[in-house]
Amino acid sequence: MKSPSFHPLVVANTSFKKLNIDLNISAKPLDILKCIEWVMSQKSGGIDVFIGTVRDATKGKAVVRLEFEAYVPMALNQMEKIAQEAVRKWPVDKILIHHRTGVLQPGEVPVIIAVAAAHRAAAFDACRFAIDALKENVPIWKKEIFEDGETWVAAHP
């Protein structure tokens, strides 16, 4: 019988950075301005930014807080695929995807996607693609905590 291989649950790498791609999964608050500054350059004609924020209610029920959990190495791997695909499909100069983990209050920022390109159409399209793909395929989960209970979002039909 083969012995189990070791799977570290704590992973040192929580970010990935190349010349044109910056990915990060962080337990600390995200810095919107720093994200925008990172993609900004004289090469680009515009920047499109998507900022996700925590809503204070779901279907009329007050949300007390959200808790985000990530499978970090796989989430980074999936985020890299999304960023590479965006760069391949559209003439994008730089793309940044940062995601928060841990406990977030209404109004806080769980995700920032910033895309810089020579022309606005590519920036808008790539940014839209990136947030849609993230919601589909990046292993990050959120639990909504209400005053009378909690649910993992999208878990049940």
């Binding site: 083969k2 189990p4 499978y71 395929n137 990050i140």
Partner: protein
């Protein structure tokens, strides 16, 4: 068929269904992802109540016919909800 012990990581609601952030189970070496899912659902019927769930091997989503090896990093991926 040889047996292998594998560690399976569980996240989000899967962690609650399984009752731990990982479990070690004995399986047939090289079984398919489909068979792995069947075996997991027998042990943890709560998985069948989910809208869907995927298996990841080595940080990639796996397809149903892919074989699972002892050295793979295996994870249960319930419906994701980031962003």
């Amino acid at each position: 068929m040889n047996l292998m012990t594998v560690r399976i990581l569980a996240f989000g609601i899967a962690k609650e269904i399984v009752g731990a952030s990982f479990i070690d189970i004995v399986l047939n070496d090289g079984l398919t992802v489909k068979k792995l899912k069947g075996s997991l659902e027998e042990r943890f019927p709560g998985l069948k109540q989910l809208a869907s769930y995927r298996i990841a091997l080595n940080n990639e989503f796996a397809n149903a016919e892919q074989p699972v090896q002892a050295q793979d990093e295996i994870a249960i991926i319930p419906p994701v909800s980031g962003g």
